[in-house]
Amino acid sequence: MTHLPLDIAHLLAGGLVLVSFLMIYQNRLSALLDVFAFHAVVLSASVAWQAQLQQAPDLYITAAIALIFKAGVIPSALGRIVRNLGIHREVETVVGTGQTMLAGMGLVALSILLMMRITAGADPLAREDLAFALAVVLLGLLMMVTRRNAVSQVVGFMSLENGLILAAAGAKGMPLVVEISVAFSILIAFIVIGVFLFRIRERFDTVDIAAMDDFRGDQK
């Protein structure tokens, strides 16, 4: 039995990390959404590959959800919002992209180091997969905290969640993966609806969270 299948799995997982970096690198919303769609595609590919590896047909559903929902519906929906709000070419990072990239590097290094050092006992494949998944998760969080407006935070959250799905798919024979991915899709749907909601009511004319901070309680 050759290592090829595993290497492909690694390749896809690593690819996901790379795409995460791409996302951090983007500072225009429209571009960001495109990259995210690509992120979802890579995810679904790697999930599908895992399904093929583990002979777990139900993972195909997860992959399908990822493809349709995350690569298709959500980005287009968000894209529409962004266009309607006319913030698609906005530059809205908090710290410069450079520092963010550096931080991202650090996070990836951290996650790899962590995996290598503490989970010496676990089986290597799972470990490396997990290292990548962890990296994606952390990068997603990083994106959430370094971006100003809600749309890019949503995107960051979704990339984070892609990392989760990756990890779940990588975990051999983990039950409920499908349910979890479904649940997460619902969650994200909620978020998007939330964003919609804030736009539909005329109260928040922008989705920039700073605008909402005026309504923070306990200031009276």
Partner: protein
Amino acid sequence: MTAIALILLIPILAAAVLALLPGYRLSATLNMGASGLTFLAALALLLLPRPAPTSFFLVDDLNIVFIVLNTLVGFTAATFSASYIGHEIETGRLTPLTLRFYHAMYQVMMFGMNMALLSDNIGLMWVSVELATLSTVLMVGLYRTHEALEAAWKYFILGSVGIALALFGTILVYMAAQPVLGEGTPAMVWTKLITRAADFDPGMLNLAFVFLLLGYGTKVGLAPLHAWLPDAHAEGPTPISAVLSGLLLNVALYAVLRFKMLMAANPATIPVGPLMVAMGLASLIFAGLMLYRRRDIKRLFAYSSIEHMGIIVFAFGMGGPLANFAGLLHMVMHSLTKSAIFFSVGHIAQAKGSQRIAAIKGLTVSHPALGWALALGVLAIAGLPPFGVFLSEFLVVTSTFARQPVLAIGLVLGLLLAFGALILRLSGFLFGEPEGDVTPVRASYLPIWLHMGLVFLAGVHLPGAIVVWFQAAARLLG
């Protein structure tokens, strides 16, 4: 088994019915009835012989405590809400439509929490916690004011991140278990995990626990993950504030405890006690400081919830039979007392037409019954006898000082900080010339007095059966 089924089915069915049912009076009654039935089912679960754990559901000494408490407070909160929403309808802050939604969501939330507490499967537990969270998010935003939406949004984002982290932790636990227990469901069944935990890869468990602690800890409201809690409490309808403080925090705490037990079962893992102690102490002192500058009465008590969660986590972090017993007792006492406080606060806010602390003065003159009820609650939560909180704080402080003097001093300082702030505000609420509206309101005192009665009973004489029961649970926690 049937009892479990009832505990889960009643809420979900009620939710379905309530979603369709117009007319808020009827649905309020139904809501109350359903919660009551759930409570009865929980009692049955407590009294009948325990069913054997399945791969999805589990009943043991630990979670039965949580379940009974959960259903009880769920019931009393529903009773309170019945009288609360009447007033809200009159003032027009809520519409019958939103109320229909509210009642349905209430039951969904109860369903989620009950399932989380009953689940023997860490995946199921995660799903149900998420469910409970989402339903509460929707209720926090119920009033549709800027503040409410902002609070809901904050709660939602932070909660979702927490959920994500918790899920990652869950996956890690599975991956730690999978080599030992084999693929598939068994590797997610807690009862199986705990038996073989010793053979798991400790590193994996450590990593998992970090994520689980942060993930579920966000829901527990531990500083610095607490940010959602005060606003969610302050801006949502008061029954929901009561349920959040009284129940949801416990559910999240329950999850943390389960995984702590898992860690404890594997000697090679990092000691999680110090971690929890540190977070608990941080939350306690931080919340103690925050209490001083609050202007909104509900936010005030929300921070006091953070403070008490800190104490509880501290106690569980210390471990040992005394501290665990104290932690468990403190959790129960806090749920009962804090929800009672929120009940009276809800009525007071309605009477005064404001939640601003500055607007609430001289209650013992203008609304004696409400005022003294609030006084009892606050004095109890501040750790004064003859109430149960005093018993638990007594045990925590004394047992800690004998083992870790420095920690105990930190604990005492935090307690004093919080005590000072609460008493300062309380004497403002109760005494001086009454301000604002002094017209009496019709309030439902039954839930308040029921809770305070129980808390008083626990403080003066804890029935032997309960002691044995709690001690068993404390032993489970190790």
